[in-house]
């Protein structure tokens, strides 16, 4: 399975902090995984449609074209505001 995490405002908009997808549900890349979620309709489409959203693959910031496989961890989150 692939673990998908959501943080901060995005987590609240989706009302979900994490979910698990099979590789076939996830599609082949980080960007495809995101599109599959958008295709679920609201609130996914709006929340994941924010153009400043960031993503990470296995806790490294990702661009989107990275391949996703079983055992991977994918995260989506708004711009960071620590420090």
């Amino acid at each position: 399975m692939i673990r998908v995490l959501f943080f901060a405002r995005l987590r609240e908009q989706l009302d979900v902090g994490q979910l698990e997808l099979s590789p076939s549900e996830a599609g082949g890349t980080v960007a495809e995984l995101k599109q599959r979620l958008v295709d679920r309709g609201e609130p996914w489409a709006s929340a994941l449609g924010a153009d400043n959203l960031l993503c990470a693959l296995n806790q490294q910031q990702a661009r989107g074209d990275e391949a996703v496989a079983a055992g991977d961890e994918v995260a989506f989150y708004p711009p960071v505001t620590g420090g």
Binding site: R9, Q61, P79, V80, T81, G82, G83
Partner: protein
Amino acid sequence: MDVSIQQEDFDVGRLQRELLGEDTRVGGTAVFVGCVRGEPDAAAADPDAVLAMDLEHYPGMTESSIQAIVDEARQRWALRSVRVIHRIGKLKPGDQIVYVGVACGHRGEAFEACEFIMDYLKTRAPFWKKETTPSGSRWVDARDSDDAAAARWQRTTETAGD
């Protein structure tokens, strides 16, 4: 251990002693401490006053992303010692949030490395602040000025060519 993520407050005096250690090659330390700004007593007057703050983070990635920033600083400057602490959870105005301390042979590199780590931490480490105000709670928006601060170091690399 360079990086700690914790709920507890930190003691700047103890951290200073750890930063210096017994290393007599240290010529100076530069330390930044970030604090929660707000007006704890202004609740009634100002509906936007920050009464409290909650810090969410991405466990695991937080530590590794800050360690990567520290490793990059170690490559750019001759750091004799470095320590980063970031608090999570519920904080109130006046509370310390973040500690970045570096010890170097000379002051110029200490200042640069400390500011570099803070600037990159602000734009790369997965933390999110949520403020509580009299009119409700709200996620803090990222600031363009933080992106600009981090971008300075990129330009330095390009123009210096080393």
